[in-house]
């Protein structure tokens, strides 16, 4: 592979990678080399559909992406902080363990699938099955904050973590179009703005007003979200929010005869 002259830079530096016309595997190799070379910030320019960016990097390096990264951005990720100036595709944060992904745009389907840790902030909307099967363990608690709306099966099988759906593109009186929200949910919590008909919810989900502790969690996360995207947190928090929670921790208890 052609050596990237920028890689020679000393420790504690910013390394720039031009992703133009570079295939996925090669691009990720360059990224790993940059991390190995001691960069603490990597600027990736002209990214266009290359997959798995941030996978197999186990350090809290900062990665800035200009363009449109491909599917599975940060899959199995374990530490990096990725900022995307553009949109993310499907599988963003797939099975993520640790780290942060900030998308200045929207993200596709299964955002944060099976994640066990880390944080994802999406300025606009997300596709189907966002937050599906998120789970938490010990001090690991995945968090996804979405500025826009979400498509169906939001928070499906959710087993832990926090999902925040701000729906900033909707009026307080608008109804979401999402169906099957929280189907199979058996852990974690969803905070959301905007209205829902009861049939839009999974059978396993209950709704409630936020209590003091909920407000504290929400305002902390909205604060971080607003910080990333230069928005006014107080203004967002003035809206009304609903909490969705699992009605049962064992939704499938009575399935078997013997």
């Amino acid at each position: 592979m052609p050596a990237n002259p920028a890689l020679k830079k000393p420790h504690n530096s910013i390394i720039e990678i031009n992703a133009q016309d570079i295939a996925t595997h090669e691009l990720n190799n360059q990224l790993k080399q940059a991390v190995a070379a001691g960069a603490n910030k990597i600027l990736m320019k002209n990214v266009c559909g290359q997959r798995y960016i941030g996978t197999d990097i186990n350090s809290p390096v900062e990665i800035e992406i200009e363009g449109t990264p491909g599917n599975d951005l940060g899959s199995f990720m374990n530490g990096p902080r990725i900022t995307v100036h553009g949109n993310a595709q499907d599988g963003c944060g797939n099975t993520m363990n640790e780290g942060e992904i900030v998308v200045h745009g929207h993200a596709g389907d299964i955002t944060g699938l099976s994640s066990r840790g880390g944080r994802i902030f999406i300025r606009e909307g997300v596709g189907y099955r966002t937050g599906i099967h998120m789970k938490e363990y010990g001090n690991k608690k995945p968090i996804i904050v979405i500025g826009g709306a979400a498509q169906d099966f939001f928070g499906e099988y959710m087993a832990g973590g926090v999902l925040v759906l701000l729906a900033l593109n909707m009026k307080d009186s608008d109804y979401h179009r999402t169906r099957y929200m929280g189907t199979g949910m058996h852990g974690g919590v969803i905070y959301m703005r905007g209205r829902l008909e009861s049939h839009q919810l999974g059978r396993e989900v209950g709704t409630a007003e936020l209590n003091g502790a909920d407000h504290e969690v929400l305002s902390g996360l909205v604060g971080q979200f607003a910080g990333h995207f230069d928005l006014n947190a107080d203004k967002i928090l003035r809206h009304e929010f609903t909490k969705l929670f699992p009605l049962y921790h064992r939704p499938y208890g009575r399935l078997y005869a013997y």
């Binding site: 996925t24 595997h25 990720n28 790993k32 997959r51 798995y52 996978t55 197999d56 186990n58 599917n71 599975d72 899959s75 199995f76 374990n78 499907d90 599988g91 797939n94 099975t95 363990n97 299964i110 699938l113 099976s114 066990r116 099955r129 599906i132 099967h133 789970k135 938490e136 363990y137 010990g138 690991k140 499906e156 099988y157 087993a159 832990g160 199979g184 058996h186 852990g187 921790h249 064992r250 939704p251 499938y252 009575r254 399935l255 078997y256 005869a257 013997y258």
Partner: protein, 501 residues
Amino acid sequence: MKTFIPSKFIVERDPARCIQCQVCVNQCSFAVNSYDAADNEVMADENNCVGCHRCVVFCPTNALNIRKNTLDYRENYNWRPEAIEDILKQAETGGMLLTGMGNDKGYKVYWDHILLNASQVTNPSIDPLREPMELVTYLGRKPDRVEIDPVTHTLKNAMPPQVKLNVPVMFSAMSYGAVSLNVQHSLARAATEAGTFWNTGEGGLHASLYPYGDHTIVQVASGRFGVHSKYLNAGQVVEIKIGQGAKPGIGGHLPGEKVTAEVSRTRMIPIGSDALSPAPQHDIYSIEDLAQLVYALKEATGYRKLISVKIAAVHNVAAIASGMVRAGADIIAIDGLRGSTGAAPKVIRDNVGIPIEMALAAVDARLRQENIRNQASLVIAGGIRNSGDIAKAIALGADAVYIGTAALIALGCTACQQCHTGKCAWGICTSDLALTKRINPEIGSRRLVNLLRGWAIELKDILGGMGINALESLRGNRLHLRGIGLSDNELKILGIRPVGD
């Protein structure tokens, strides 16, 4: 209305031999035997007996016998006892019937209709005791052609990663939670000693098992339990589990009771929480998506590990396998109709899928037709019982086999089909600490190594008889097989000729 189902077994205790030592009371985890201090008598509540023989073999005076209860309903081929009793159970509870182990129905076992060849007169057989015999198998993608440097006699092309098996037998995926940690330790040690692999299943990898990484296959399934970068890099192979022979198309569900402190740490979920494995992996809805996960895992493991994809044998298996190879899988693992499980809905276990013999023959033939057979190794599972089955599988085109039930039987399992109850009296399929200590990993691993050694010797004998000195020469060599009692169509799919032909 309470359901009355006659007990399946009768516990016979010979009063002349019974010394009231109560060993059977302690050994039976199904609470069949009890001691009445007032009468100084050991008694049995036979309704709970599952016929696991634990009490029989542990009784110091051989006082016990377990007999099938011959109490009969009126003879009716359609309404056999199982059909009647299943209905009674469901009418009582309104639930699905759950079961363990593999399909116990009488579907044709094709291994029993295939016979092996041997040399007579026209070519000599080989004596494996005194001549070298090669069973070593390498799994992994093989290059389309091999170029040798004429001067140095070394390989010129880059070789994709391979793993080496000293015997063509690996231990099937059995997760921590489904089986106990002592069972996994037995498997891991045995795999290391025998030069083969064991498979974590989808329950993560317990910290104490990381040292066996060189002989470990780590699984990634729909629940993604315990999957993180250290785990992915801990073994030599990462297996994407799409399906399982005992329950094709079905997800899984480890009930909260089995998620003990240690299981919780390994699966990385809270203690006592249900572990749901969704039916599909929601990042795989197509062959293209599979390719994406295959390469995500290759990327996550720096292209140093092999990626295996495991599916259940279903009707279109050949076409699916072709797609899997094209998706970049280094190993295709196929689990047949008789593959086992720690728990599955009975209706699925008993009715879904196809026998592995047919699936194997169809897949191997298809991959050869498409000239992509070299791009992936083929591993099969689902009811392999002995070295004869293995030799036939290799001749039908398998590179290696997985054994699950056979390995558990080596550890004491009597195939009583109670794995889903968590009460396994042999301490195998349970997380009850009082039961799990019944398996000693030291002894367990020795027994497994013994089994593999025995099979290896037999395989060499089979090869020698055929006049072949390397397993590689038997691989896909269907001329060494003949079918007996099979229809023309079955012979055609198996790609073998009838006996006498």
